[in-house]
């Protein structure tokens, strides 16, 4: 797709207003028309919203995705990152931010560059798990730090749940589903759909996501003979007895199997009419998962569903070794996949209704351990879609000086923005009320703002 087709509603409105003054020179006429089309299609489904969580498993080195290119910050970046620093001519430049700062993205991410320069992607930094606003002095004095910093499972659980201390955590995507699932009326499809298996993010108190594979949904052979088939009857009777008389584990297992069988036929029928657009999808796992998300979104009206939260995973980010190569390949796959996905969303007429966003275990050390990086804390995340106020870097870009004010040691940056502020900005757009935001994000009130402003 040409860049000019990627128009957000915001661009359209700005441009429409500007045209009156004869100042709309950022977009071509073709882009203007495409923007009008997108806006028109959007009006037909004004009440649909979807969030797509792209989890970068292992801990993405976000500070080698977004790189500052103004002289001072770049020199600091280069000094701190040692043999992992990108040369300044090996980066893809981004349009200057509205406040005039210059950044670039990894040379492997032209897709992200395009989305950003077209105003459909925003970066957020320096974001991480926080109990409350935390200074370096607080860190050194061990004041209210998230438990088990730098541990994969603990930090990803905390990022997905925002319940830092609770032993029995549920995810913030799940709490969002608990509170907003009523918007979906009687839809048989749960609000959450995971294309990447079980995850804490989508688990709520009363809601569980539907799990499908990137290939779609298959029929259950055992009950394929129909409800009157003797085998189906025997199998269902057996499950029924387990549900009433079984022990805890048996009952919970039976419950899961029963719900899988009940939903599979509905999904198969619906997906038969699905579309993921006419664009070419890369063959990577993350692209295949996002393609499945696109297909499910394309049949949302079959379910009468108004709100959806999707979950996809790209693994392999724990780059202790061989980082330049491995991380570059991952970012390249992700960049292509996100470009294809948002292209498809525009084509399906839901460009402004679908927002994708990244999450990861944690950031990585700025310093190198030889040819890789270790577990750290603060990170860069990004959001994409037509409703994103894109082309900007939100939050505070950290001082990357080693042992500087933002460094807890070896370039493990202390976050200045909480994942809860990040999540709340998304959840507000998704439809959560002020009160609901406080429930979904338990520490939110401790931070200066619940709205980081990157969503229109």
């Amino acid at each position: 797709m040409t860049a000019s087709k990627h128009w957000s509603r915001r661009d359209f409105l700005q441009c429409a207003a500007a045209t009156a003054a004869g100042a709309c020179n950022r977009k071509s006429a073709l882009g203007f028309l495409a923007g009008m089309q997108a806006a028109a299609t959007e009006a037909a489904t004004p009440d649909y919203r979807a969030l797509v969580c792209i989890f970068l498993a292992g801990g993405n080195d976000g500070f080698n995705v977004l790189v500052p290119t103004d002289t001072g910050p770049y020199q600091t970046y280069k000094a701190s990152r040692g043999n992992l620093a990108f040369a300044s001519d090996n980066l893809l430049s981004l349009n200057p931010t509205p406040s005039g700062q210059n950044y670039a993205v990894s040379s492997r991410a032209p897709g992200l560059q395009n989305l950003y320069n077209n105003g459909r992607l925003a970066f957020l930094t320096n974001v991480g798990t926080l109990v409350q606003p935390t200074s370096k002095t607080d860190y050194q004095a061990n004041v209210h730090l998230p438990p088990q910093l730098f541990s994969h499972n603990d930090q990803s659980d905390q990022g997905m749940s925002c319940e830092l201390d609770a032993l029995e955590k549920i995810g913030w995507g799940g709490r969002m589903a608990d509170l907003l699932t009523n918007l979906n009326g009687t839809s048989r499809l749960p609000l959450g759909v995971s294309i990447a298996g079980n995850n804490l993010f989508q688990v709520g108190n009363s809601t569980v996501p539907y799990y499908m594979s990137p290939g779609g949904v298959n029929n259950f052979y055992v009950t394929s003979g129909g409800l009157q088939d003797p085998r189906t009857k025997a199998f269902n009777k057996m499950l029924g007895l387990t549900l009433t008389n079984g022990r805890l584990l048996e009952r919970e297992f039976a419950k899961s199997v029963k719900s899988s069988i009940d939903l599979s036929q509905t999904l198969i029928t619906a997906l038969a009419n699905s579309s993921s657009g006419t664009g070419i999808w890369p063959g990577s796992s993350i692209a295949q998962q996002l393609q499945m998300v696109a297909r499910v979104i394309s049949v949302r009206q079959t379910f009468g569903i108004k709100r959806q939260v999707f979950y996809v995973v790209q693994g392999g980010y724990d780059t202790h070794d061989d980082q330049i190569q491995r991380h570059g390949n991952l970012i390249s796959e992700l960049s292509q996949a996100m470009a294809a996905f948002h292209g498809a969303m525009d084509e399906l007429g839901v460009g402004n209704d679908v927002t994708s966003f990244t999450l990861s275990d944690f950031g990585r050390t700025l310093t190198s351990n030889g040819d890789g990086t270790d577990h750290a804390w603060g990170n860069v995340q990004w959001v994409a879609g037509g409703s994103v106020v894109g082309g900007d870097v939100y939050g505070t870009f950290p001082d990357q000086t080693l042992d500087g004010p933002d460094d807890s040691g070896y370039g493990r940056l202390i976050p200045t923005t909480s994942i809860e502020q990040y999540g709340a900005t998304l959840a507000r757009w998704f439809g959560a009320s002020e009160t609901q935001l406080e429930t979904i994000f338990p520490h939110l009130s401790r931070f200066d703002t619940a709205n980081l402003g990157f969503m229109a």
Partner: protein
């Protein structure tokens, strides 16, 4: 089962243990790894005494479902003529069925399909079942995976054999051999980990330092002997700090391939890593509990202090004990059960710490393991997908025409393959609980991390195909298909009650509730006994599938 070769000599030929002992530098090993059986020989199963039964059959089935890759008629009969401790002792005396030795008999020992085939063949047919089963459990604790790690297939087999051959040794030896194995070295990047170098702007890699503490020995928080987190002012007490991780990382610098001539050289995955002192951090390092590793120490001496410190930490008994119980017996052991196992870890009764034989006995012979729900109302665990397939093929002698078990792609067909977890956190975490009642009541069900709509469909359908289309006598199969032998079922199929009773015994140790049995019997009765291609086939297959797909089978108790 048909032999793969004409060699019938069950000779112990491989003395790799001795060789490894020499090649692992500078460290006194308490127990040498078990010898390997000759991979060319037909497996020899111990002969069964012709005496009256000592152990009731349902007890034997239940026990074998925990201690092996699934109960089967031959083993049930064998065990029924002895006591459970006698059976364990007999297993302890056996040599090891080694994976690399068998893999080396294939045309290509670096082909993943061959590694999978050999894993299944060992799981299903190896006489040293307890050793194989414990090794599999260890492979889900000391996780190394070929997913995304670039570790060659034959190196995965070398690694697996460390777990197989040391399963009955000392935990300290397992810890050391795992630490120095190049596969683990690559997986958690201790291989080529070097000391800080200001000129290059680099510092020690923290990956292995962190995970060896968090996942392989002591865990994140201080534990009581019964595995309950200790509290101080209402908070848990961390076992280590970030500084401990950084200092342990320095301690673990300087190791490369065992055949290297220079630090970044080498490619031998068969032998342990060796130290290069020029790349080892020789500064003074303080690790957990204020243990000081003095300056100018050699890499091996520093490593010894670190591993000794971890090994002697009071957390290891309850931490590893709970994990072994969860892998072999039950998801929610009582604190007392954990304490009894931890006590054996701490001291086998003869003053030895970390004796795996004592620990395994404590896990499998504990009253809670033997009495199940009688002792602990929440006893039980979900069977892992791999363990369902191995049970099917053990109980019904499943194999391809040439005696192999060519199940090449378990990851795509059942979502789990040996040594192929998505990360060092295994396929499932010890503290995973699915949302709903299990989580709300504070229980765990690690294997449920693999349970979801997509996996349920895939698993149920795969099992359906493996049973209904892959049986001896089906005219529509090919020689590579793994076929089960359903003779034991066909002969009982005239009586639906007998058929269901046999399946209930051999698969669950008589754990199906009466109401479920009635449903099964009535359904089987509704199927004609006369069927194509033979009498009883339809009844046999339908009954087998429904039992194996019932929650009462899949939850093992």
């Amino acid at each position: 089962m048909k032999s793969l070769t004409c060699h019938q000599v069950a000779a112990k030929t491989l003395r790799l243990g001795t060789l490894l002992g020499i090649l692992l530098p500078g460290i006194a090993l308490a127990d040498l790894p078990a010898d390997c059986y000759d991979p060319m020989a037909t497996p020899v199963y111990p002969s069964t005494a012709e005496i009256p039964s000592v152990t009731p059959q349902p007890t034997a089935v239940r026990f074998l479902n925990m201690a092996t890759f699934g109960a089967m008629p031959r083993d049930v009969n064998h065990l029924s003529k002895m006591t459970l401790p006698e059976w364990i002792n007999e297993q302890y005396r056996m040599d090891a069925s080694c994976h690399l030795a068998t893999l080396n008999q294939t045309q290509n020992n670096n082909q993943r399909e061959n590694r999978m085939e050999i894993w299944f063949r060992h799981a299903v047919t190896a006489p040293d079942q307890l050793r194989q089963r414990v090794a599999f459990a260890l492979s889900e604790i000391f996780v190394v995976s070929d997913v995304g790690s670039g570790i060659p297939t034959n190196a995965m087999a070398v690694y697996y054999d460390i777990l197989v051959r040391n399963a009955f040794g000392n935990f300290r030896d397992i810890l050391e051999r795992v630490t120095l194995s190049p596969a683990m070295g690559r997986y958690l990047s201790m291989l080529h980990n070097q000391k800080a170098n200001r000129k290059l702007g680099i510092r020690a890699d923290e990956n292995y330092a962190r995970e060896v503490m968090q996942l392989f020995t002591i865990g994140l928080v201080q534990l009581s002997p019964s595995g309950v987190p200790l509290l101080q002012g209402g908070n848990t007490i961390p076992t280590y700090s970030q500084t401990d991780v950084e200092n342990s990382a320095k301690t673990l610098t300087g190791w490369s391939f065992g055949n290297s001539w220079s630090f970044f050289d080498g490619d031998d995955w068969r032998i342990g890593m060796k130290p290069f002192e020029g790349y080892h951090d020789r500064t003074l390092k303080t690790i957990l509990d204020n243990i000081v590793i003095p300056e100018k120490g050699l890499a091996a001496a520093d490593l010894k202090i670190l591993l000794d410190t971890l090994f002697n930490h009071p957390n290891v008994g309850p931490f590893i004990g709970r994990r072994l119980i969860q892998r072999l017996v039950t998801s929610n052991p009582s604190p007392d059960y954990i304490r009894r196992v931890a006590r054996k870890f701490d001291d086998n009764g003869k003053g030895v710490r970390g004796d795996m034989k004592a620990v395994i006995k404590a896990v499998l012979l504990d009253p809670e393991a033997l009495e199940g729900t009688q002792a602990n109302v929440n006893f039980g665990k979900l069977r892992e997908p791999l363990l369902v397939l191995t049970h099917l093929w053990r109980a019904f002698d499943g194999h391809s025409a040439d005696g192999t078990i060519r199940y090449y792609y378990p990851d795509s067909s059942i979502g789990q393959a040996p040594l192929s977890a998505p990360s060092v956190f295994n396929f499932f975490r010890p503290d995973f609980a699915p949302s709903g009642t299990i989580k709300n009541r504070g229980f765990f069900a690690p294997e449920f991390q693999l349970v979801n709509d997509a996996n349920n469909t895939r698993f149920y359908n795969e099992l359906f195909g493996l049973i209904n289309w892959r049986y001896k006598g089906n005219p529509y199969t090919n020689p590579f298909d793994i076929l089960i032998n359903i003779n034991n079922l066909k002969t009982r199929a005239r009586s639906p009650t007998d058929l269901v009773a046999y399946l209930n015994l051999i698969l669950t140790g008589n754990k199906l509730p009466a109401d479920v049995k009635t449903v099964l019997i009535n359904y089987v009765r509704s199927i004609a006994y006369i069927s194509y291609p033979e009498k009883g086939v339809n009844r046999a297959l339908e009954a087998l599938y429904l039992v194996m797909s019932s929650p009462h089978y899949l939850i093992q108790r």
